[in-house]
Subunit: 319 residues, 2 copies
């Protein structure tokens, strides 16, 4: 009997489900709004109902369900399947998510931090395949991270390891909402790109960014497109994002000597705009041997990384 697992990406905005076959294919999907403000119990019902639908679909296809994996933003205790605290999900404090779902389903349930699920997705099924150690960096609204060492997520003492986005890359840099100054996230996130663009638009130079801002069309993608068409101010923004990403990655390489860095998240679409300056910094700053060892790869799975990683927790633990 062929196996499958149900992977869930429980985000602050969207709740996404995938039925993942052991050949790594997502053969059925479901998506709904999380509507987290309606409260924990309603979200749990929505979660249960989505899983139920895919479980029935699996049954009708003659697939054996190996388990359910769920990626959740915030502080997760993976060992006991608890959501400790999720700033993006109001009310989610010390919620025994695994226990709650195991009341409804006869399958093992795995709960994982969403950035870790994303990293595991790329590691098992995407750009990190074949590596034994990997750091995954996601460039989105913020900069997230997941560290995989010897095939396992490194979670740290409180399940909070992997916060690559809040490494200091410039001690006197701009203030970050986290309280620190000069975090990587202040240079290499979509938010940082937008901030740099607004600041560039107030300058005296000629740039397409000005009209984008005036016409309410300023997005990271629009800035990237302007850069690709030769706008130098726009290009400089992505080059800056790449430079600081390179500074952080050089430090990670000297520290962890890992085989691979995977860069995913929405902003990785602007890959060719930042990868050059990124690699220049790595070359200039990291030790030669570990820098040559470390493959720097663009994420392959995009929005599916989280679902695949979560499902993988069930598929890999039950081979």
């Amino acid at each position: 009997m062929q196996k499958a697992a149900i992977g869930v990406d429980l985000g602050g905005t969207n709740l996404r489900f995938g039925l993942v076959r052991e050949d790594e294919k997502i053969i059925s999907r479901r998506r709904t709004g999380t509507m987290a403000t309606e409260g924990v119990e309603i979200v749990l019902e929505r979660l249960t109902s989505g899983i139920q639908t895919l479980a029935m679909r699996a049954e009708s296809m003659g697939l054996e369900i190996a388990g359910i994996g769920i990626g959740v933003p915030g502080i997760i205790s993976a060992r006991d399947g608890m959501v400790r605290l999720s700033p993006n999900l109001p009310g989610w404090k010390d919620i025994p998510l695994r226990a709650r779902l195991e009341e409804s389903f006869p399958y093992p349930v795995y709960v994982e931090n969403d950035a870790n699920a994303y990293a595991l997705g790329e590691y098992w099924f995407g750009a990190g395949k074949g590596a034994k150690s990997m750091v995954c960096i996601t460039l989105g609204t913020g900069v997230g991270g997941g560290i995989i060492l010897d095939g396992d997520i490194w979670r740290g003492a409180d399940g909070m390891a992997g916060e690559v986005g809040h490494i200091t890359v410039n001690p006197d840099g701009p203030l970050c909402p986290c309280g620190n100054r000069g975090c990587l996230e202040r240079y290499s996130s979509a938010t940082a790109v937008m901030e740099m663009a607004v600041s560039a638009a107030s300058g005296s130079g000629k740039t397409a960014i000005k009209s984008l801002l005036r016409n309410g069309m300023l997005t990271p993608e629009a800035i990237a497109n302007a850069a690709k068409k030769g706008d130098r101010a726009a290009a400089r923004i992505y080059s800056e994002a790449g430079k600081y990403l390179g500074i952080a990655i050089a430090g990670l390489i000297d520290l962890l000597n890992m085989e691979c860095v995977v860069i995913g998240g929405g902003m990785s679409g602007a890959w060719e705009l930042f990868i050059g300056p990124l690699k220049e910094e790595v070359k200039a700053r990291a030790f030669r041997i570990p820098a040559q060892r470390c493959r720097i790869a663009r994420g392959k799975l995009k929005d599916d990384a989280g679902i695949l990683g979560a499902a993988g927790l069930a598929l890999k633990k039950n081979p």
Copy 2:
């Protein structure tokens, strides 16, 4: 029969041996110059002879020898006991140290990078005792490091992980011999303290550093003593060293969420001069939960850490 192991610290300058009983006591020591310029074979003979002496002493005491552990600076392949390259030991390139010593002795031989041996010493027998994850930072001529995760050294793909000293803490900072700019080592090593002192001596302010320099008595210890006696320029140097150490440690905490940081090496003697500014940076920069988790401790074993860690490799693998 009580067990013991022979721990060796093979440094660029000194070759130090200790007979370590399983109750963690060094019961016999030997020390000689490494005189590495005389060539690999001579150093190997000196090494063999030192081990021989302690092995005979162990026998005469009725101790069973569990094995031999050796800490070596440079790139080590711990798995096969090879010294890949040691910039401080001329000629040491692809030397099968374990195999060579196992020709002379009937005991298992463990070869480890010296910073890792130091970290293991503090972890098993010193300030890191009881922690499951730890980063060890040694402040000496340079800044070294060793990372212990779940009780094991994290070596990385090429055995080169743990280079805490070469993390960038200030992207436009001073050039480092490693080729990078603004490495931690440029702020928090004995070398950096001396450089900052020489630079302070050329200023117009009143400071004891000037007469220390003039009288050929400028050492990190003398600068620390001046600072303890109230010299503000001298105090500022150690405060700067602590600040950048704190910036690096804050990043490590967000990244690894480890239980403990141990700071050893010669400069840790100036602990009270840098620990305040260090902790301020950690508090201002790292996430609260992992920062509160992480104990920042002064190394306990000093020069013995390397010998004890190396011996521990044999004692712990053969309980």
